[in-house]
Amino acid sequence: MSGTYRVAVGSFEGPFDLLLHLIARHKVDIYEIPIAQITDDYLAVVSEMERIDLDVTTEFLVVAATLIELKAARLLPQEDEPDIDDLAMEARDLLYARLLDYRMFKEAGRYLGAQLASLSGFVPRAVGLEERFIGVLPQVQLGVTPQRLAEIAGQALAAKPEPIVDVSHLQPVRMTVREAAGMVVDELERAGGSATFEELTAGCRHRVEVIVHFLALLELYKLDLVDLLQPASFATLRVTANPESSWETSAFADMEEYVAAPATDEEVPS
């Protein structure tokens, strides 16, 4: 894949950092990402990260998924499939948009770093008052009861080390393949053992969820728990539960734990 050069694994701040780096290596404009090559390079680096057990964040995988989607769309026969095309285009645009944003802030960060470094020689005087002036200060009111002080101490000591559970940063959809597999099984049971992919993913609000569902289906297929039937390219994908299989949860445990967090808040294109 990326046999021509090696990228130092682990030196990237995130998926966009890596992507920018790869684009630079190909000496192309950010607007002309050679999707196929970049995708291969990108995946090579990400898989390397996994191998050395680096904490590969979900976003790396999300970007990988987007790249694969784009590459796949290019490889597919260019028939009148506006849906697929639009979807790919939209993914591509979002990727660009995010890359551009990221690049700007990366540059701004570099600028701030240079400024901070060049001014680091200016150390401010931060020395307390001399003894003689301390006596001049007015008596300070504590304004608290011992009980209140205890509460303040309690809060200060309890809040750490992990800062307050800030729900906001959990906001990305987090759905594991295992979770999605469970949902697929639920849905299949309810539907009497057979359903289309569209039906299975009807509840998905985000494209990433759909992707995770698809990965889950592949895993279930691999485990021989479902059969997949697609009469033709782009035809409806029908999923049928394998009647001989029992839904042992333990089987799911072997599934790889991809966690999907959507790159952006885009909704599933309908």
Binding site: A97, R98, A108, G109, L116, Q171
Partner: protein
Amino acid sequence: MIPEQQTVDGGDGPAVADPQTRKALEAILLVVEEPVEANTLAQVLEIPTDEVVATLKALRSEYVDEGRGFVLREVAGGWRFYTDPAAAVYVERFVLHGRSTKLSQAALETLAIVAYKQPVTRARISEIRGVDADGAVRSLLQRGLIEEVGREATPGQPLLYGTTSTFLERLGISDVSELPTLPELVPDAPLPAEPAPGGYKAARRELDALGIADPDPGEDEAADQ
């Protein structure tokens, strides 16, 4: 090198600085722990702000001319004594706080996002960077470069972050508006050609409408704060 003690150089403001004013200003600046506004100094000394500013400027150039180990700087809206960077190698030995430890790339990117997008939530920072920003945010808080400035009026009420006066001080500016605009910082950015196929622009407009995208890179970023 004989210091011209009796004359105010710089030339703006009153011609001669009152020796008492000079002395008082130097004494006060010795005890401050953050930049002090010329206004405040004027109130304390009961003299016009003009005079304070003129005297401070005179002192500033005097120190430079005399090759002093300290300098007077006007940053973050006020005046304060700093060491001359030429002596930094010695000063470092006496300053504990790991001031010299450099910020990581993650921290710098996060700082840039906070500086240009403030007030901003952690989730938004993570979104732009594509990776979790918790560690970087904590480190910047610890260094006093950013602070909590409120909560967003959305469900969950996530904390909002902004830059501090320490940030301004360390960057040697008086206001974030003095930062270069983002587009100015993008390297050799030939204004990009229309992105090839697809509805890039439309997508951006949609995102803008949702309030989750940055303004077009061609626009002035600092303006929307």
